[in-house]
């Protein structure tokens, strides 16, 4: 089914929001408001945007340390996310998690994790829970190309298929794990075909084309929701920035970067929308709206208080025992 125009506009808005949010993050990082490891999503917007648009609000999403976009698409407020990055008590994890650990179970966003591959068995466990409770839900788990070489990736795929669990593994193949080119880290770098080793369907999609991602994911989600077992999707994409804020990214050639810049998913969709007769001023209005949302989030974050000292010992455990 072709993606309705209203949905396309929403996809456009989400991608624009992600890009602007990440630009805001880079500014705030440079000004010292944000610390730690901060991984930007600029360039990859079409993947999280298209993929998550194909699931229901109460399907689970679980991610990695590169998690800002996924949280935004899950409609967690930019204020709560920016405040988390600023380490403020109004943040989505009360300032305790930071950039790599956004989490909002109320919106079925089950967390960002900083140990490569660590989130994958968790995704399988979420799917197991769905199956055991007979729920009408699926899990969408995000990972990078580099993560597909971790042992736990293979253990997770095997068990997801063994038990026919409702999980979609979305591999965001941006061709690098930090400085390491996928061609020197994966013996078999057709990542979607790694699924075949476990009898699982594996698809590849252009991760720079949000409509293609959306359409592919809609099909796959239907299949998985129907109880046909897990699927892996490899979305080929590119991060325009370094691996994290401290990485200048010198291991990639200018020619390569230029090539992928030409495939920028945001102008691509803008062009398609205008070709469908949309007035370009609508897109300008969206841009203004997301600019304002990000400015607002940054003001909110800056004016929010730090966590109180007592917070240090809060939430280590649920239950306390006299001692």
């Amino acid at each position: 089914m072709p993606v309705p125009l209203a949905d396309q506009l929403q996809l456009y808005r989400n991608m624009a929001l992600i890009r602007r949010f990440e630009e805001g993050v880079a500014e705030a990082y440079a000004e010292g408001f944000i610390g730690g490891f901060t991984h930007l999503y600029i360039g990859q917007e079409a993947v999280a945007t298209g993929a998550i648009s194909a699931i229901n609000h109460d399907d689970y999403v679980i991610g990695t340390y590169r998690d800002h976009a996924h949280a935004l698409v899950r409609e967690i407020s930019p204020r709560a996310l920016m405040a988390e990055l600023y380490g403020r008590v109004t943040g989505v994890c009360k300032g305790k998690g930071g950039s790599m650990h956004f989490c909002d179970p109320e919106r079925y966003f089950m967390g960002g994790y900083a140990i490569v591959g660590g989130n994958l068995p968790l995704a399988v466990g979420l799917a197991l829970s769905i199956q055991m409770r007979n729920e009408d839900r699926v899990v969408m788990a995000f990972l990078g190309d580099g993560a597909s070489n971790q042992g736990v990736f293979h253990e997770s795929l095997n068990m997801a298929k063994l038990w026919e669990l409702p999980v979609i593994f979305v591999v965001e193949n941006n061709f690098y794990g930090i400085a390491t080119d996928v061609r020197i880290s994966s013996a078999f770098n057709e990542i979607h075909r790694k699924a075949q080793g476990y009898g699982m369907p594996g698809h590849v999609v252009n991760g720079m084309d949000v409509i293609a991602v959306r359409e592919e994911c809609e099909e796959v989600v239907k299949y998985v929701r129907h109880g046909s077992g897990p699927v892996l999707i490899e979305a080929r994409c590119y991060r325009y920035q370094g691996h994290s804020m401290t990485d200048p990214g010198r291991y990639r050639s200018q020619a390569e970067a230029d090539l992928w810049r030409k495939r920028d998913p945001i102008p691509r969709l803008a062009k398609q929308l205008v070709q469908q007769g949309l007035d370009a001023s609508r897109l300008d209005a969206i841009q203004r709206e997301v600019n304002e949302a990000v400015q607002d989030a940054m003001r909110f974050a800056e004016s929010s208080p730090e966590p109180p000292d007592e917070a240090l010992y809060e939430d280590v455990y649920v239950e306390s025992y006299g001692a």
């Binding site: 610390g35 300032g95 790599m100 580099g146 930090i178 390491t180 000292d309 917070a311 240090l312 280590v316």
Partner: protein
């Protein structure tokens, strides 16, 4: 003597040992083409080739396991874990395999293996990226734990470790890589199991290592202004542990503070405090104090992280508690 930064001293040790012994090779994530996340292996792939300075996929369990296999069959691998946090992924290989094999196989198998890994917090890296877990491995017999705090120590100790016949966990600290110190041009080796008094003093002994050694030296400076002369002892290697130097110092000062960046509960400080009271119970003028991280997962927020992690000020407070 020329000054080097800590990461340069590590680089020199690796370079010299790669040049000295053909069996030595390095494997790890981004160690080759990229020259190491902290520039530690810069230039080594260019000099020694991609067979001996090997980039690996992100697969810590296999990185350590493969190093074990190579070590038991005649090679002398140096496995680099990008950070100590990922050593937890390789825990099974380190604890169930590397530390056990020599003993379990009745001494027939030797593992001349070094696992290098930087650890530590301090820059808001949050709960999964701030580990200082050296005590976990000191608790495990069969693997040595070396944790140098200066460029001089890191170079001399690393060279010794690479020539050792035992598996060794060599823990660096992310915040130390850019620190400077004198390193002689001529070759030198430092023995394992020899602590160093980094600053003499008569009133109290502070035992500290890695980044906390520098906090302890700062604390000693502050205390000197108050008229308290603190002796700062760096064990440099936690297994083997040079108890003689530590006991000798505390016997003179009769007061001890142990400062570590890891968690307090069942940490290295607890072990040292226990040993001090076993040997010097009647010589101590005050209870042994521990300065350590709060027993919580490291929080991201800057103000909470500062509260969670120990520092010079916290050491000063601990000293004042037992000297006033």
């Amino acid at each position: 003597m020329p000054e080097l930064r800590y990461f340069e001293a590590v680089n020199q040790a690796l370079q010299e040992e790669l040049a000295r012994d053909e069996r030595v090779f390095i494997l790890g994530e981004d160690v080759g083409l990229a020259g190491g996340t902290f520039r530690v292996t810069d230039g080594l792939m260019a000099e020694f080739g991609s067979r001996r300075v090997r980039d690996t996929p992100i697969a810590e369990a296999a990185i350590v396991g493969i190093a074990i296999g190579a070590a038991m069959s005649g090679m002398r691998p140096i496995a680099e874990l990008m950070t100590m946090n990922f050593g937890i992924v390789a825990m099974d290989q380190i604890v169930n395999h590397a530390s056990k094999m020599h003993y379990m196989f009745g001494g027939q198998v030797t593992l001349p293996l070094v696992i290098r890994a930087p650890g530590g917090g301090w820059t808001q890296k949050a709960a999964q990226h701030s580990h200082c877990i050296e005590s976990w491995f000191v608790n495990t017999p069969g693997i040595r734990v070396v944790i140098p705090s200066t460029p001089y120590d890191v170079k001399g100790l690393l060279k010794t470790c690479i020539r050792s016949e035992d598996p060794i966990l060599f823990i660096e600290h992310e915040m130390l890589y850019s620190t400077r110190g004198e390193v002689p041009e001529e070759e030198y080796l430092l023995p394992l199991g020899v602590a160093e008094v980094k600053r003499p003093g008569r009133d109290v002994t502070i035992v500290a290592w890695s980044k906390m050694l520098h906090e302890a030296l700062k604390a000693a400076e502050l205390l000197a202004n108050e008229g308290i002369e603190a002796e700062v002892v760096d064990p440099r290697t936690l297994d083997p542990l040079d108890m003689d130097t530590i006991l000798g110092s505390v016997l003179r000062t009769r007061r001890a503070v142990i400062a570590e960046e890891g968690w307090r509960n069942v940490g290295m400080g607890a072990e040292l405090a226990a040993r001090l009271q076993e040997h010097l119970f009647y010589d101590l003028e005050a209870p042994v104090q521990r300065v350590a991280a709060a027993d919580v997962p490291t929080p991201y927020a800057r103000n909470l992280e500062r509260l969670a992690l120990p520092n010079a000020q916290r050491i000063v407070e601990a000293v004042l508690k037992i000297t006033l």
